[in-house]
């Protein structure tokens, strides 16, 4: 039986957000096959619950919410399994570069390989990873990210802040290991 024009139009619009959903699924699952399964299931569910989508609201955020809820249900079990990041204080990479007199500090970032940045993002706990994906990679506003994640805006901000601290910590460790920066004299990861 042919699909209704309304359903087809809805599906076509939803598919314009496929790259965002696929990237998000890939970063969350870290596996292309699982990412495709997750995205396909999310789209099927979206069509099933098409009536709950309010026209004029952010479809990308709505679709991402469906996808990430499936991820947590299917791949992560209980949400309590996720590790939360503590506030680790300063921005490690920036502070260390400044201490070492590397100016401008941002120039060092140009020497960090994209694959290492992806690796650092994928090492973040999923609750923090998904905020970085939405805000930094996909350009969501805090409000839209909060809608997609089902949390208050303040939670988006605190998770994002801690995720960025952790990213700097990971990138600093990589920069030391690869000789981009000298590192602490005692060889320890700075606190």
């Amino acid at each position: 039986m042919a699909e209704s024009p309304a359903r087809t139009a809805f599906a076509e619009e939803a598919l314009t957000h496929l790259d965002t959903l696929y990237r998000g699924a890939l970063r969350l699952t870290r596996d292309p096959d699982q990412a495709q399964d997750l995205v396909q299931e999310a789209y099927l569910r979206a069509l099933r619950y098409q009536h709950s989508y309010q026209t004029g609201t952010n479809m990308k955020a709505w679709l991402f919410a469906i996808m990430r809820n499936l991820f947590w249900d299917r791949f992560k079990g209980t949400r309590k399994e996720d590790v939360s990041l503590d506030d680790v204080g300063d921005f490690v990479l920036f502070e260390k570069l400044r201490d070492e007199g590397a100016r401008p500090e941002a120039d060092v970032l140009d020497r960090i390989a994209a694959s290492e940045v992806v690796s650092a993002v994928e090492k973040l706990p999923p609750l923090h990873r998904e905020v970085v994906l939405l805000v930094d990679v996909e350009g969501f506003s805090y409000k839209d990210a909060a809608q997609a994640l089902g949390v208050p805006i303040g939670t988006v901000m605190s998770r994002l802040h801690r995720a960025r601290q952790q990213l700097q910590r990971s990138l600093y460790e990589y920069a030391v290991e690869s000789g981009i920066v000298r590192g602490s004299t005692n060889g320890a990861t700075p606190q």
């Binding site: 699909e3 359903r7 087809t8 599906a11 076509e12 939803a14 598919l15 496929l18 790259d19 959903l21 696929y22 990237r23 890939l26 970063r27 495709q36 995205v39 396909q40 789209y43 099927l44 069509l47 921005f91 990479l93 920036f94 570069l97 400044r98 100016r103 401008p104 500090e105 941002a106 970032l109 960090i112 994209a114 694959s115 940045v117 992806v118 993002v121 970085v132 994906l133 805000v135 930094d136 990679v137 996909e138 350009g139 506003s141 805090y142 901000m157 994002l160 802040h161 960025r164 990213l167 700097q168």
Partner: protein, 72 residues
Amino acid sequence: MNCPDCKDKLDRFVDRELNNTEVLELQLHLEGCPECSDQYEFQAHLKRLVKHSCDCDAAPAAFREKLRQILT
């Protein structure tokens, strides 16, 4: 605005989440504070680096077509 206030607002500045008044206050501080200005440049640069590193994965064409067949 002092440096601690500026640091508190840097995330929101980088993410374009401040209102116009806050943006002007922060820009004024950055113009007179090389340290905060450096930190802003670094955070903005890092945000761009994360985006460019992670947004190059597009859905495979075959997968897109498969979904289109299933959904429409």
